[in-house]
């Protein structure tokens, strides 16, 4: 079974919520990214989401945009990210890894993604493909890799059904109308919409975008299968980019984990 699928179903069986943490590969450098991935796991992260840097990340707010820019200054490519994952897997074969990025970088590396084996990445989330399409539409059909689709507050009922049927990893519910790192969560709308998604699918539905505090995490965990945190971690990574002292991030993640437990 796919590592992501089994991790999420084990959590569910134990009545636990998933904590997904995001970082951008190569920000501030690849060695730090590897260290941070291990720190994530030690601090309680269930799934690691790696942002694949792209020159034109239209769904990202300023914090993650700047992280993409910094990574691109280091010439980070998808090829290097897959090598990073191989390195990580030498000491961790349990934690699922999701790549999140933009279609153009994935279709520029189709053969590499196709060649990925069982102990590599587990899932891909392409931000800019319509949810009714999946990776196979673009020539990527690797049994080790499943598709994560986004559903947003503006997704119509008939699209919710289409997308839910088409997703194989989990449903990523976008909490708000906006880019990553925005604020103002509308809790009752999120609750309603996640409820609507659950009418159509048994896939885990995780909530992401705009989650900053342990309080946010606690509230959203009540009616979702887990939460995704990105911008606040990326901001902390940037603040520690010269000292490389990432302890604060470990503490932040532990607090989040407690909040959703």
């Amino acid at each position: 079974m796919n590592r992501l699928t089994s991790t999420l179903s084990n959590l569910k069986a134990n009545n636990q919520k998933a904590l997904v943490a995001y970082l951008v590969a190569g920000d501030p450098d690849m060695d730090s990214t590897l260290d941070l991935m291990h720190l994530f796991v030690e601090s309680g992260v269930d799934v690691i989401e790696i942002g694949v840097p792209f020159t034109d990340p239209i769904a990202e707010g300023p914090t993650i945009q700047r992280a993409h820019d910094r990574a691109l200054k280091n010439n980070i490519s998808l090829k290097m990210i897959l090598s990073l994952v191989d390195e990580f897997r030498k000491s961790n074969k349990e934690t699922p890894i999701v790549l999140m990025g933009y279609l153009n970088t994935f279709i520029s590396h189709i053969e590499l993604v196709q060649a990925t084996g069982k102990d590599g990445i587990d899932s891909i989330l392409v931000v800019d493909i319509p949810g009714e399409l999946n990776l196979e539409s673009y020539g990527i059909s690797n049994p080790n890799i499943n598709t994560i689709s986004l559903i947003s507050p503006t997704t119509s009922e008939n699209r919710v059904e289409l997308i839910a049927n088409n997703s194989t990893g989990f449903i990523y519910y976008v909490n708000l109308r906006g880019v990553t790192g925005s604020s103002n969560l509308n809790i009752s709308e999120i609750e309603n919409n996640i409820g609507r998604i659950k009418k159509y699918t048994d896939l885990p539905t995780l909530a992401g975008f705009g989650i900053k505090t342990a309080e946010d995490a606690k509230t959203l965990a009540k009616f979702s299968d887990g939460i995704i945190i990105g911008s606040s971690i990326v901001e902390m990574i940037n603040e520690a980019s010269t000292t490389k002292e990432f302890d604060r991030i470990g503490k932040y993640i532990k607090d989040m984990k407690i909040a959703i437990s």
Partner: protein, 401 residues
């Protein structure tokens, strides 16, 4: 004259293998809403009447097809005609599609208008139509373009719109587009995004083309009236490609007319420092559509280089990519130096100062006229006037005010 055979985009928004809707899920609803509105209104008699009446009374259409006597005398190998989009209200072809799009926004009840701009012409055109309807308007512009197009920035502000300088990436048109899309995702319920070219996700390439094809429709009629046949060639500059698409589209089935798009060759296509994806790019996905794109092997979008802010874009409208691949249109490139030379030459010979974008089309006359005989008729789409570029040209010529 409209085509039965050439019928693109398809239902999914594709021109062959180009186009589509590659956007974050949040935007799908807005694209569907726009598509539904447009498909209802495009054949609606009252809507068409309103659009053409605005084009006539507010824009000043039809624009003349003008015989360029001294340019014709210079080349002595065919008659050169100028489609005078520079005479439109606000000084460029951009107003044609913004007049149409603001009517769609009005019918959709949108209260807030956003747009991206490169040279500033689309920003001016958008701020103009928004002012006319009293709608809040925000224009995104790369900070590099804000600098080189300061006159247009001030015009946009005078029209009551807010200009947001964009510092990310290369600080030019593509980054302005990224930022406009982020604004749209964040304000999707009350905001209409007036995309400025035949780029972006479906249905934009179709809508902008349809509104701007009034240019080509007029040329068909004017050619019949003025020289009693169809032109042998039509030449237009291509950045995103809306001025070219507007004049090409009604001619796609007119096989005797060569359609020639001129891209920005920057320092020369062979140097890699240019903005000519149809000449030196590969298919990729940017800003919601699959099209030819300037990108590296890792799929990252390359920075572009052009003296003309309006052509300084790494992508191109998907329909142009399709016309290139099926061989219906030719796409060439002209360097900054040749475009600047043409800018001066046309200004001196014809008393018409073309935009630097348009100057690229004029520069291609040099090689083109050698292939033609004296009975031929060539139409240059004068996409805009050059007043906005005076600072740029003066700087290059070493003149300080």
């Amino acid at each position: 004259m409209t085509s039965n055979k050439f019928n693109y985009p398809d239902k999914e928004g594709f021109f062959g293998e180009f186009g589509g809707k590659f956007v974050p899920e949040t935007l799908m609803y807005a694209l569907e809403e726009l598509e539904n509105t447009y498909s209802k209104l495009k054949d609606d008699k009252d809507f068409i009447k309103e659009f053409y009446s605005d084009l006539s009374a507010f824009v000043g259409r039809p624009s003349p097809l003008y015989f360029a006597q001294r340019l014709t005398d210079k080349y002595k190998s065919g008659n050169i005609w100028l489609k005078r989009e520079d005479l439109n209200h606000t000084g460029a072809h951009k107003i044609n599609n913004t007049v149409g799009q603001i009517l769609l926004a009005k019918h959709m009840g949108k209260k807030r208008i956003i747009a991206e701009t490169g040279a500033g012409q689309h920003g001016v055109a958008t701020a103009t139509v928004a002012a006319r309807l009293g709608l809040e308007c925000h224009i995104y512009m790369g900070s590099e373009d804000v600098r080189r197009q300061s006159l247009n920035v001030y015009r946009i502000k005078l029209l009551g719109a807010q200009v947001h300088a964009v510092d990310s990436g290369s600080a030019t048109l593509k980054d302005a587009l990224n930022e406009a899309m982020r604004d749209w995702v964040s304000n999707i319920d009350d905001t209409y995004y007036i995309i400025g070219s035949v780029t972006g996700p479906h249905p934009y390439p179709m809508i902008v083309r349809d509104f701007n094809s009034v240019v080509g429709q007029e040329v068909i009629k004017q050619s019949n009236d003025l020289f009693n046949k169809m032109p042998d060639a039509i030449v237009a500059c291509v950045g995103g490609g809306s001025n070219a698409m507007g004049i090409f589209y009604p001619f796609i089935e007119v096989q005797e007319t060569r359609l020639i798009g001129v891209e920005a060759g920057g320092k020369g296509v062979s140097t890699g420092e240019h903005a000519a994806p149809l000449n030196d790019g590969t298919p990729g996905v940017l800003h919601g559509a699959r099209s030819y794109l300037m990108q590296d092997e890792a799929g990252q979008v390359k920075d572009t280089k052009s003296v003309s802010a309006g052509l300084d874009y790494p992508g191109v409208g998907p329909e142009h990519s399709w016309l290139k691949d099926i061989g219906r249109a030719e796409y060439v490139a002209v360097s900054d130096d040749d475009a600047l030379k043409a800018f001066h030459e046309v200004t001196e010979l014809e008393g018409i100062m073309p935009a630097l974008e348009t100057a690229h089309a004029f520069a291609y006359l040099e090689p083109l006229m050698k292939e033609l005989d004296s009975s031929s008729n060539v139409v240059i789409n004068v996409s805009g006037r050059g007043d906005k570029d005076i600072n740029t040209v003066a700087e290059i010529d070493g003149i300080e005010f």
